[in-house]
């Protein structure tokens, strides 16, 4: 017997789309649902539709490895990710729905002297931003997660790690369902099987969307389509500095509790946590090439498994149960793009790449504010589209080889 909630297909209605809405949100993943929820809850804007081409939260929201943390290097990233982490901490109560948010901490391993220096720098930067962070040595890693192999005799020995105790995981489906239910109760229409195929404008201003279920007029349109945003933006002639790539994850069979925290290694490229039910959940890096096929290369999985086995020898006899891929949109500085576009009343939320799940409540709040006010929320200000022209990049990739 488990404590998990019943299958919640009764949590929202499936209404017919109306002819017009104040706000149309494109994409029914975590970001779209959270945006709709905060639009209704914080700004009282309830004439909102979330349009989803497939089924609710069947995109990256259902495919990610659910790592939540805020230990980013730059102040701009700390701002938005820590805002999100604070919202996670009260989300279950706010939504009145279990999301199994488990603050079991995250270890980001360091394997080289340069890793160590970068890690210590990041810990100090985190502390300056009021974010919990510590540097732990190899013995400290062993204490927090006893199954990590800290032997010096491996190719990439563990020299230590950054540790963020407030980081953790949540059950992604429940997060989506919780937001969906709460948004629905506030009057938001959640419309599945409704693909946006066109965006209409008049005099440089958005007027609505064309969909597989007809035309829907809209005062404002917010894009929350993750890996597919380039395709949508092209519908209004807008180019974005994004490349969409397959990103894979996999799970083992159910095991006894063996892994008490989250362990990430950018150097050997594997991320591991143990799901509430017992599966080992593992992620790796993106496939190098662009792709929309929701299918990745096998050699990525081989490398990921090799890395996992060296770090966690006890996994040697675990069986792999499933692998899958999602499509993530990577920006040149590995930071998101949030804000206004050259088309009036058309708003962008994209470029979260491999790491947007942790932002779900934070970006929902910040994007809703940006849409409602027609100007960027303070946490969104650094993440404008024109930073690629001005050069004010938020280079998390260079700073922390960030993934997830």
């Amino acid at each position: 017997m488990t404590d998990l909630p019943e299958h919640p297909d009764f949590l929202w209605d499936n209404p017919e789309p109306k002819k017009a809405y104040d706000v149309v949100v494109v994409g029914g993943g975590g970001h779209g649902l959270a945006t709709a929820y905060y639009l209704a809850k914080v700004f009282g804007i309830t004439d909102v539709a979330v349009l989803e081409k497939g089924w609710l939260a069947g995109g990256n929201m259902a495919r990610n490895t659910t790592i939540i943390r805020s230990n980013y290097l730059w102040d701009e990233s700390s701002g938005i990710y820590e805002h999100s982490l604070k919202l996670w901490e009260g989300l279950e109560e706010d939504l009145g729905y279990p999301i199994l948010f488990s603050q079991r901490g995250v270890l980001n391993l360091a394997h080289t002297l340069q890793d160590v220096r970068d890690s210590v720098r990041r810990v100090e930067a985190n502390k300056l931003n009021g974010i919990d962070a510590e540097w732990v040595d190899a013995a400290g890693v062993k204490e927090i997660c006893p199954i990590v192999n800290t032997s010096p005799d491996v190719r990439y020995p563990v020299l230590g790690a950054t540790y963020q105790p407030r980081a953790g995981i949540a059950k992604h489906d429940y997060v989506a369902w919780g937001f969906a239910r709460a948004a629905h109760e506030l009057g938001v229409d959640l419309i599945q099987n409704c693909e946006v195929t066109g965006i209409s404008t008049r005099d440089g201003r958005v007027t609505g969307v064309e969909t597989s279920r007809g035309r829907i007029a809209a005062g404002k349109v917010g894009l929350c389509a993750a890996g597919h945003t380039s395709v949508l933006a092209r519908l209004v002639g807008l180019d974005l500095p994004l490349n969409s790539h397959p990103l894979q994850a996999l799970v083992s069979e159910l095991l006894e509790p063996v892994h008490p925290t989250v362990v990430m290694s950018n150097a050997v490229h594997v991320y591991v946590s143990q799901a509430h039910k017992g599966e080992l959940v593992m992620g790796a890096g993106i496939d190098s090439y662009n792709g929309y096929g929701q299918r990745g290369s096998f050699h990525i999985i081989e490398e990921q498994m090799a890395a996992a086995l060296e770090l966690f020898p006890v996994f040697a006899r675990a069986h792999l149960l499933r692998t899958w891929a999602g499509i993530v949109d990577v920006s040149p500085d590995a930071s998101p793009i949030i804000g206004l576009t050259p088309v009036e009343n058309l708003f962008l939320n994209c470029g979260w790449g491999t790491g947007g799940f942790k932002a779900t409540p934070g970006v929902g709040d910040v994007f809703a504010a940006t849409i409602a006010r027609g100007k960027p929320h303070e946490y969104a200000e650094p993440f404008t589209l024109d930073r690629f022209t001005t050069g004010a990049l938020v280079d998390e990739h260079g700073a922390a080889a960030v993934a997830h």
Binding site: H228, S230, V231, R234, D239, L240, P241, L242, N243, S244, S288, Y289, N290, G291, Y292, G293, R295, S297, F298, H299, D329, P332, F388, T389, T390
Partner: protein, 92 residues
């Protein structure tokens, strides 16, 4: 694993290749004349289509030569393989 036909070596496993992103992105002819917007386009903006995409590959663990391919990004099907000095073939 995907087989990629190197124009010089024939079909080899994907793991032997290195991806080089969008093909036919020419260095600006008159760099000094470019505006900030033009530079942003050249440095950061690439086509990201769902469908046929002209891109560069290097057979890095083989003959080490670069070539171009048109690949359907939805299916990973390689629709055309051609040399760097050849124009993009018509694929549909």
């Amino acid at each position: 694993m995907q087989l990629i036909p190197c124009p010089w070596c024939g079909p080899r496993e994907e793991a032997e290749f290195h991806y080089g992103g969008q093909a036919h992105v020419a260095y600006p002819e008159d760099p000094a004349a470019l505006s900030d917007e033009d530079w942003a386009k050249f440095v950061f903006f690439r086509a990201n289509p769902s469908g046929p995409y002209a891109e560069r590959w290097s057979h890095s663990a083989g003959c080490r030569r670069w070539f171009n391919a048109v690949r359907d990004t939805r299916t990973h099907d390689l629709l055309a393989i051609y040399r760097l000095d050849e124009p993009r073939p018509v694929t549909s």
